[in-house]
Subunit: 488 residues, 2 copies
């Protein structure tokens, strides 16, 4: 493709996305595709000869779009918000178009230095002290893996340079709560700790880790020859946005030499609101933390921010220095390849830098406050409604709810919950993802898509009530079109 063809087709792609974003509300949220249906529309063999770009764009509509679940839809209430704000999208377009790689500072100095500036802006925005240094990783799963490897190496005095975990006498243990994200256990397993050395610390009624239980477990382990290595606390757990008590956990961690990693992947964005910072009070006592501007804040996926208090330790754990990567500037600059797992990196900072500049901090704060108010409004509605129950506190934008009609309990209640959620999802009118809480299914309503205004939350509440009561004609009537609507 020549630059002039790129200009022509690039405008078409931009128009396609502009139209998509403008009209996304008219689509069914969840793809109605059946497994294998997309694949079946595509040839098994790659084409020998070039295809016209028009044919590719036509297949985008014909093959791809029916198989898309619309995360940017204003009635997307599933998982967590993943807002790709349009200014951020353009930052990413510049990055991909320039096609430069951050192997070393010299391999594109602006890539490294804008990343330093953008991560430092975010540090200030969330109220962290200047003792923290940030770097962009792909996702929180990776950030947490890096944290646990760094913890492992601190506890062992850099066993990686010797026999690794294979040369240690006393096993290292990692502590977290049953409400921590699945990526925490995964990281511990990938880092070689073994499931036998992952301790699940009990939680309180609000699903927050109990610091007193942590202290007791750590002391018990230490007494029997296990070395407490790391604790992962969560600010805003996945299922219920529970808030582990960071200050109390940091106190235990400090006393026993544990690495404290704080997973604020979801709730970290809310820390741009001073009124929310109590949620991670004590954060300055942590060794590392992760927050994902690619969730609620609006940076196009993927942009996970990993902050550490001791960047030299991180670099020592992650660095390699082969001759083919050395440059004359190495002594004076950061080489971000030594701050994570991949060697090469995209110019990811642009999408964050564009977002913050185009929006400004106040507008970002206003949007998050809008979402908190919408969630609070819905929480009030649920509290007041007969047979509906809020199952967890709502400090942020996620509600855990159940419709509990008289006489329904146990597995029958589970069937009812999964049934009404599934009816909503299949209708295409809205999307939400259920989860287990204390062994029973609940509905999670995660408010915070960029396009979600109060009216969408009101509509959602109507849809929920209608679906739970088995009323098929929804509040929206025929407003939804597209393939998903056919399945109603």
């Amino acid at each position: 493709m020549t630059p002039e063809e790129f200009r022509e087709y690039g405008h078409r792609v931009v128009d396609f996305i502009a139209d998509y974003r403008r009209d996304v509300e008219r689509r069914g949220v969840l793809a109605a595709t059946r497994p294998g249906e997309v694949k079946a529309m595509l040839p098994a063999e790659p084409p020998d000869e070039p295809e016209p770009f028009d044919a590719i764009l036509a297949d985008l509509e014909r093959v791809v779009m029916p198989g898309i679940t619309h995360w940017q839809h204003p009635r997307f209430f599933g998982y967590f918000p993943s807002n790709g704000s349009l200014a951020s999208v353009l930052g990413d377009y510049v990055s991909t178009g320039l096609g430069v790689i951050g192997l070393a500072w010299q391999s594109s100095p602006a890539l490294t230095e804008v990343e330093e500036v953008a991560t430092d802006w975010m540090r200030r925005m969330v109220g962290l002290s200047d003792a923290w240094s940030g770097v962009i990783q792909d996702t929180a799963s990776t950030s947490t893996l890096i944290a646990l490897i760094c913890a492992r190496e601190r506890s062992t005095g850099f066993a990686a340079a010797r026999g690794g975990l294979q040369g240690e006498d006393r096993p290292l243990a990692v502590y977290t709560s049953a409400h921590a994200h699945s990526s925490v256990e995964k990281a511990a397993l990938l880092a070689g700790f073994g499931r036998a050395h992952v301790r699940v610390v009990p939680h309180d009624d609000a699903f927050a880790m109990r610091a007193d239980s942590l202290a007791a477990m750590v002391e018990e382990d230490a007494a029997r020859g296990v070395r407490p290595c790391a604790v992962v606390a969560t600010t805003g757990t996945t299922a219920t946005t529970a808030l582990d008590p960071v200050a109390a956990i940091a106190e235990v961690a400090g006393r026993h030499g544990l690495w404290l990693h704080v997973d604020a992947a979801m709730a970290g964005s809310a820390m741009i609101l001073p009124e929310c910072r109590w949620m991670w009070a004590g954060i300055e006592g942590a060794d590392s933390l992760v927050l994902n501007p690619h969730k609620w804040l609006g940076a196009a996926f993927d942009a996970s921010l990993y902050y550490v208090r001791d960047p030299e330790h991180l670099v020592r754990v992650m660095s390699t220095n082969p001759s083919y990567l050395r440059t004359a500037a190495d002594a004076e600059v950061k080489n971000l390849r030594d701050w994570g797992i991949p060697l090469g990196r995209r110019f990811r900072a642009l999408k964050l830098w564009f977002l913050v500049r185009e929006q400004g901090v106040r507008a970002l704060q206003a949007r998050l406050r809008r979402d908190l108010a919408n969630a609070a409004w819905l929480a009030d509605e649920v509290r007041r409604a007969p047979d509906w129950r809020l199952l967890a506190p709502v400090p942020l934008q996620t509600l855990c709810v159940r419709h509990e009609p008289a006489g329904l309990a146990g597995e029958a209640l589970d069937r009812h919950t999964l049934g009404w959620v599934d009816r909503i999802n299949r209708s295409g009118e809205a999307y939400l993802t259920p989860a287990l809480l204390e062994g029973r299914w609940m509905a999670r309503v995660s408010v915070g898509a960029e396009r979600t205004e109060r009216r969408h939350v009101e509509e959602m509440w109507g849809i929920m009530r209608d679906s739970a009561l088995g009323i098929r004609d929804s509040a929206l009537g025929g407003a939804v079109e597209g393939p998903s609507a056919e399945s109603r």
Copy 2:
């Protein structure tokens, strides 16, 4: 930013990239920025109020562009080619614009199924049997880390589910060559093996691993109670594109139960040429392999393909199954979160799918053959030129060269080599990255940027000779503009 503003500014961004790609040859290849210069142009504090998008685009020119090293430049001969072909760039634009996340098949079915199709197209293109299943990772560093973790778990019968590496009696060892990429040792260290258990297998005169030495080391280790776990072979090493003998290594691996991972990150693209496939003969005996279409082939970074013969093993090592990620479709579909480290994934397949369709396999083959011929032409020139020496075979597109005038040796020769390479890089006319070979610096000339035609290679050869002889007026005269040129 509204969809209509996105349409307007999106067209401007597309035009910016179209102009950039059209005119990139007129820029100095290496950024002339000094450390800290970009950062110093940016405010330390994020803006409270929104900035006009025009101001952001103006800063792109003023702040960012002078700090860019131009990987898409036709005289970029550094590191390795990282071609972001423009059709692939548009595939990525669609991905970012749609803003969908592959947490599960259901969270956007087309994301998973197009990835299955695109990775299977690539499998066919490089001549692998249908015993292989592919998935897109970010980079080869990550793919190799995953491979070594999978090897670890196979050797220990899933110790991760028990005590991890902390519960094993006899240590596991990993084998590779001194010419393997730095990411191999890094992966072994991150996976917990420890440097003491990374064995460096000797290489032959062509810098390829010696399979007989591997066999001897494995047997010696086994005899003294160390468990041989994995061997990483390379098809196309970073410094010299050496070719480890995959068939012979696979034979040793098979005999001793080692996991064989083949790093074909760079050379894997060449396997779309049937005449190159002898280079990894025996590949069907490997357990996993990585190849990076984001290097030579033209997929926009990042798109690293990881292929395995036993996807069930990969899924067992990588899977998590929290309730909030379960869907009704799980039994019938692939959930790609269980195929790697991150939970979320971009719709990366689009950039590969667009590339292969817009180009067609034959055009991709023709471009790679062009580059091989250009490298062979330059190799002939170097061989014929007095005082110039080729230091390694040239099976692919990378030349290892030295200018060795009579009387220069040892450190004086190193100074000469680094001197003429640095003069070229600082001139902005071309870019190449030196490396150590057997303890002495050499120049690597990596041919294969998409825009590099024969004339650019001819120009490069003129620049090299002029620079080595200390002639300042280059073959290009005043053709290069921009900040880099000022430093000449």
